[in-house]
Amino acid sequence: MGKETEMSNNVIALSITPPAVAEIAPVVEVRQPVREAANVERQPPASPAYSFPPVSKARLRAVAITRAVILPGAVFLLVLGVWMLVNAKITSDIPTPAATWARAVEIFGQPFYIAGPNDMGIGWQVLYSLGRVMAGFALAVAVGIPVGFLMGASRDVHQACYPLVQILRPVSPLAWLPIGLLVFQAKDPSAIFVIFITSIWPVIVNTAAGVQAIPQDYLNVARVLRLGKLEVTRRILIPATLPHILTGMRLSLSVAWMVIVAAEMLTGGVGIGFYVWDEWNNLNVASIIVAIGLIGLVGIVLESLMNLAQRYFDYNRR
């Protein structure tokens, strides 16, 4: 947040420059005689008297607040307007923002109640979904990184696996759900399996690319130092590829969070995806809109956690 403000300040400073340029012209005339004198006696030239209009801090802050709060707020209001228009003109099944807000207050008032296996607070729904995402994601990382390493390190492994990866990567993960249900005969493992399939491709592809991108020079350094295989892996291969691996992990985690909602709609059970489907069956549209907002927020949190991890481990960003 602080960083953003700082950046927008810079932009403002630039945008103020143009009017100041106009004032340089008279200043140049004043400097002319000073320069000639300098040619004769080589005196240090008098510091040029640029005069910029003073930039008031209050004005900078006003612009910063406009950028950070007022502009996004305006778009938000616009969306609210469209929403109310839909409610008024198209279908009143879409609840008003006010009604939705009231529902949100109700839902978040008791996020962790348990009234039976099919009736739990929204907090539990999110946690169950997150649990499945984390299980599938962890498996994908555990399998994807070694496979990616092998593909990056060996041309033959790369040749052998690349076509398969290319074919499977663009497949919608949900297409795997029936296979999962057949093989595992249970909902939870199937959902986890779908997340695994979702997450593994970016991890494999980015890890392999990271290993391939290691400069030969680093490996030559290792050879001159006679580092053993384990030392090369620990001191060179892993640190050099970590930025790529983390990029792959960040990509797959955000997709995994999108996919779990869809997967749970099909598998049922406790989870934010099935919650949305359940509320649709109850025609409880306000709850669905609240859930959409919550899914988005959780997505942002996951993304920023991965960003933090990336900043911590990536030598380029430290």
Partner: protein
């Protein structure tokens, strides 16, 4: 027998059209404490010679003897200063040198001694002030200094430098050349340096090995540079002997080994 003996080395690479012979019968004997520059047009195989000595590349025929022992794999007794420094970007300046010190002296020196030795080598290249910085935070010349410190810290029998200053601007290059001369005078290292800079070769070396153009490049001429040390760039600029050596190298490169496509 000389200290470092590059003995009738051939290097050939297999290609679709049969073997490509990069080096043929490269023979060079180097004494301990000598500073040798290998100069030649780009693509003539200078770096190939260095890689064979480093053990990074295997000679197809012939071989390299260091103190009468054949070398055929890389090792810290032949430390390399790479052209583009090749510091590990995730380690600090200190750690980049320390990794070499730990590897070479892990058994023979205590932890405190290894720390001191790391600092000592950073001081040699005047980089101790930046020891906690990462390579991304320092200039190209500074990175190359650290690369030299890392190589020196291995206490190599031969210091191999592969166009060490090629990527630097002229002023930084001059500065680093002075540093290398200073260090070489102090430590009496045996140095094999690849260069394409005539002034650098004459200023730094005891002998200049001039290579013919490839393919099948070989040693064309060897010029002994009998200039007293310490050498001073400014004084030498007007020194007739210096300019004579310079002209010799230029003549070799631009008259006798002029690149056909450059003509």
């Amino acid at each position: 027998m000389s200290y470092l003996n590059i003995s009738n080395v051939d290097v050939a690479f297999p290609t679709a059209n049969g073997a490509y012979i990069a080096l043929r019968e490269v023979h060079l004997e180097i004494e301990q404490g000598e500073f040798i520059a290998i100069i030649g047009h780009s693509g003539c195989g200078k770096s190939t010679v260095l890689n064979v000595v480093a053990g990074l590349l295997e000679a197809t025929r012939g071989g390299v003897l260091l103190e009468n022992k054949e070398v055929n794999s890389p090792g810290p007794d032949r430390a390399v200063v790479f052209q583009n420094h090749s510091l590990l970007p995730w380690l600090t300046v200190y750690e980049n040198v320390r990794i070499a010190v730990d590897k070479v002296f892990g058994k023979s020196k205590s932890k405190a001694e290894r720390h001191d030795w790391t600092l000592h080598n950073l001081q040699l290249v005047h980089m101790e002030h930046a020891m906690d910085k990462r390579p991304g935070e320092i200039s190209g010349g500074m990175k190359q200094r650290v690369g030299i410190a890392r190589a020196l810290a291995m206490q190599p029998k031969v210091l191999l430098m592969d166009e060490p200053f090629g990527a630097l601007d002229a002023l930084t290059r001059a500065h680093l050349q002075e540093s290398v001369m200073e260090i070489q005078t102090a430590l009496n290292n045996t140095v094999l340096m690849i260069t394409h800079d005539v002034d650098e070769a004459v200023l730094l070396s005891d002998r200049i090995v001039m290579m013919t153009n490839g393919p099948a490049a070989t040693v064309g001429e060897i010029l002994r540079v009998d200039l007293p040390r310490p050498r001073n760039r400014l004084e030498l600029a007007d020194d007739p002997t210096y300019n004579h050596y310079r002209a010799e190298v230029l003549r070799f490169l631009y008259e006798r080994q002029r690149r056909p496509e450059a003509a």
